[in-house]
Symmetry: D2
Subunit: 366 residues, 4 copies
């Protein structure tokens, strides 16, 4: 159950206190020139200690190591395997958490599901597992971009009551929260700093735009594009909600208010556009990606995910130990007051992995 995908597949692995975490990437078409620099770049976007509001833990994730890869710079059609070494662990004293079931962590459930638990780290339950996905993303992203001009842009849409309304993709990498609205970024950041100073944490909403999505992706029943995206997004630990187009907050609209007609397209007028059906069906509303019958048309796919606050916070808590006694508990290490900017590349990663898989599935039937 550690493999994901149909044709383009990833298999991931990690135990906290062994050599490395990593990913086996299977199904990338052969003879594609891969740029190694993308991997370091994307891992850099995901890593901790990028700013004052994310955790100060140091992980040199860019120091990845290649176990199987390309020939003369090009994919061979065989699995690509890349690992990231575990840092030398300080001989930390784990004795104080060894027998404790931390609230909102896997401690209790791993103990009872598996009968065994490595108390020295989160292992498969840790957000660090997403490093494997980001490596796959770096490759899938490049493939989709060069072959289909696909661009995937995720950004922090909302934190607290602050929302990014005027989306400017160029601004995303220019602010530590990876929001897309220059007008609201400063207030959002100040709000997160205040939460951090309270020893607290906060979640929010990330929005993702898949630009230039290939047309006619998706299978009619169980493997609709929206269904696979929902699966992939919710497979990210921090994500608790998915909506496709604006929905939970527009649920009170009737269909007349929501309906989109082909005719609404401003492009209808030109003879030239009539020839190119993809352009024609463009609509200014794009409420749910103009996916008709759950098959993509080439319009941008827009979805949003709800991200929970990290559950590691700086304040004394009460919990129980494995003998079921009440104990005091305090997390000593640094944490992410707002994890969202680090989740952004993971959202992009899972989107790209799904879209590439759908492209290859479509190829199969031709």
């Amino acid at each position: 159950m550690n493999t994901h995908g149909t044709i383009f597949k990833i298999t991931t692995f990690w135990e906290s206190h062994w050599g490395a975490l990593g990913v086996v990437i299977d199904g990338l078409p052969s003879n594609f020139e891969i740029d190694l620099a993308n991997i370091a770049h994307e891992l850099g976007r995901r890593k901790p200690w990028q700013s004052a509001i994310t955790t100060a833990r140091k992980e040199n994730d860019e120091n990845f190591e290649i176990l199987s890869w390309v020939f003369e710079g090009k994919s061979t059609g065989h699995p690509i395997t890349i690992i990231v070494r575990n840092e030398d662990q300080k001989s930390q004293d784990y004795e104080n958490i060894k027998d404790i079931y931390r609230p909102n962590h896997a401690d209790l459930t791993y103990d009872l599901k598996y009968g065994i638990r490595d108390y020295r780290g989160g292992g498969r339950s840790s957000g660090r597992e997403t490093v494997s996905r980001v490596i796959a993303w770096a490759i899938a992203k490049q493939y989709l971009k060069e072959k289909f001009w696909v661009e995937i842009k995720a950004f922090t849409k909302q934190v607290g009551e602050y929302k990014a309304e005027n989306v400017n993709y160029d601004f995303i990498e220019k602010n530590i929260l990876r929001t897309a609205d220059e007008g609201v970024a400063q207030k959002m950041i100040e709000y997160v700093e205040k939460i951090k100073n309270d020893g607290d944490s906060i979640g929010g909403i990330i929005e993702c735009h898949i630009k230039n999505s290939p047309s006619w992706l998706g299978e009619p029943v169980f493997d609709k594009v929206k269904a696979r995206l929902a699966w992939s997004m919710l497979s990210i630990g921090w994500v608790l909600g998915f909506e496709y187009g604006a929905w939970f907050d527009t649920v009170h609209l009737t269909w007349k208010m929501y309906n989109e007609w082909f005719i609404s397209s401003p492009l209808l007028q030109g003879e030239e556009n009539k020839k190119n059906k993809k352009d024609f069906i463009h609509s200014p509303h794009n409420k749910y990606g103009w996916i008709l019958g759950w098959i993509t048309t080439g319009e941008d796919i827009i979805f949003r995910v709800a991200v929970k606050p990290t559950s590691s916070i700086y304040c004394p808590q009460k919990t129980v130990d494995k003998y079921w006694n009440e104990v005091d508990f305090k997390i000593e290490w640094r944490h992410d007051a707002c994890i969202l900017p680090r989740v952004v590349p993971v959202i992009e990663a899972m989107s790209a992995i799904d879209i590439l898989d759908f492209v290859l599935i479509n190829n199969a039937k031709k």
Copy 2:
């Protein structure tokens, strides 16, 4: 891509104008006594023409037919196959929609993805496809109930601004909207009737409670319970959003406001409860199902889905034909002003199919 599941699997099929739709159910443990009456009962809950607010189309879905089944009333360990015959189709005149791409339907995308489209019915893109899932649900539901006392209760949580706050399971089947709050039902229904009289349609939110969920379900990474549920829910055409616990509307809460401690349990006091860890971890908040490290603990799993209005509405629309000319278009047949009560059993169905699959996956590793 018409098969879903790992151990407990369903394969579904249908073309509108051939003999039948159906499902092959694979992986049910053998020697389990199945009650045929459940199938008719659940199909009855999903079928059209149950009330004034759902469509008046007549489909005798209870007239299912068994192709492979039990021996002496008990499952044999081999596939169960059940079909529902297509009704005798009136020699309807499809000529007027043959060349039209209806807005928000699969007409355009099927034509361009497959190069062929049966214009005489929606086939795989039709909501009627969910009949297959409800058949599997009737069986999975009985299995989960008898073996694990699991109860799955979905209901209409919100329509327009009307919300079911005081949940009473017994009331669900006593009102045509399948909402769970007696205090709000009448207003909700009147609101839907008004929308119906406008020739319009409306969606809403369905909430689902998985009671007595087996403990320790879920795989740590790609097959978290929440991830599989999100996949299954979004694989239902009408569903556009999924949230696990209250999230999109509580996204502004910080972790301190959200945190749940084991210690919060009112059950902590009793010695008896200390022995039984499952009871102990009960919490009055249950914000996201007390799933720790994405493994279930036995607490109720609560999630919500956002359902779109049906896109068939009674009013003149404009659209395009396959030659890309603008044409007038009007749906003549009856439609569901509010599809939610008919989606309720489908939500329950997909929940049960996933939970049963997770139970069997857990068994495998023992």
Copy 3:
């Protein structure tokens, strides 16, 4: 575990005493014109009572029924479902075998694996299950032939000591044993008749030629063409051995005797052929299909399977009942003295299903 394939998939079902056996065929590319007559034709080749040496049971398998299928004669991209009704069963008296574990049948193992067994028929353990595969074959065969000129020809290679050495495809359908050598057919048939008169049965060897196999099929490690073919062949109940090229009986040859050089090709001389590498690599030996690195080159793929005698024979046997008492036992019904001619289309079926799946897998990566 009743679904087979990666992109082109079949799901089969049957319980002896319910309505029908059948198959759901998923993954056939859309817009392909299917000829219904092929199905009846291939079912006719598999059915009992074709001749004096096969069983006299009457099964009208050609009376299949379509549940989902084409539009205007062409595949739609959605599942095709076809069933064959169970014949009206005589109110046969099963009491005499109800509690008996017949030797070499599933009676004992089904009872102990599943805790339940329908003693009124073999169900999933019966060779009748292969009807489902032959239906899929009729469609896959037509697709491979029209798109790639693939021809798949299986025939009875050996019965007793009689071997078909001079292979003439045209003769296969002209003799009741489906052997390919006119010179040996009569002796083979007489030998089988003698065995039949003894109330005995015999197996043999079937050889299968995949002519004009598409090039570059097969995945390097677990899904080599030979591996998938071996799997599929041994998934047929009657088949107990598989060899790829001549092997078990040439196992004593050293590599020098076996080696095939590109240079051996008589086609090497022509300039024209040098341009077309597929032709070039032709070799007169073709010992194991010129599959290099386990990837097909376009040369014919030749393999053989060993088929066991049917275990239903006309003579008194001793066995045990479920209380483990020794009992006398005699099969009253007619049986196949030599099942091989009826297995021939099943061998072809599984070959075509695999080859088509490999073609679609190759497409995916392009």
Copy 4:
């Protein structure tokens, strides 16, 4: 297509000139104490340079490295990942084979299937890929042995005309050919040495005994035990034939000669044995593993595979280059005159991987 298995799964990877080959092992039940020494031991059995008749290439396969593994010596329920580093490659001159298509190698087909080929090593087409499988075997073997007392014993059954008739398991590891018959070993070895001195190579037959196989394994249709074993065996490059029980050479026997009755058991007499059905069905013939209805009964499973000679031989050959010109060609490196003793642990490996997967599949349905 580099992942194999249903519940117990392996994913393997390797490119010749990158860091390592390896395997991700998924699905091993948690809390099982694994002995690291088994891995080095089994890799030692597979490695080259074990004797005068196998290749003199030096590969320190025992120097494996663990990337994810156990906690306090026990499996955690999460993936186990183990790699073997590529040895420092001499700056070998590959120029002479860069443009040559070696006969019976993947050179031609990889070039044309993938459009790219690493001429510096066989990569996925190399027998060295089986190192990954042997690592998984070391773990699966220990699990099956400790939980179910399963023993898997493969040995060289035939080389040339020399056959091992008197099987003595204890002798297998005491001779360099891994044959099981002390009486024939010396002659077999001398025969192989003679072939080696001719610069030639030879294959043969390996027989495998699965002792104390768990009962009731196997799925009735596509995933019969014999079918999965055939798949797994033929997925090993060197293997070209599979037979289950004695078949290709007993294909002329009629059923009366072959039939096995429960009653034939010498154990029938004892009252004690009647209570224990597993013992009762023992038969001295065990022609095809007493698998009834293709479900195992607990009797030993016996199968044989035909192994081809290695295609690297010491003698001048002719072949073609990529421009399709005839060229002279000679393999300079050492090769295996008889690969069989090194294939023995790979046969055992794939048997164990399948049997363990079947055990877990059976668990799932309980």
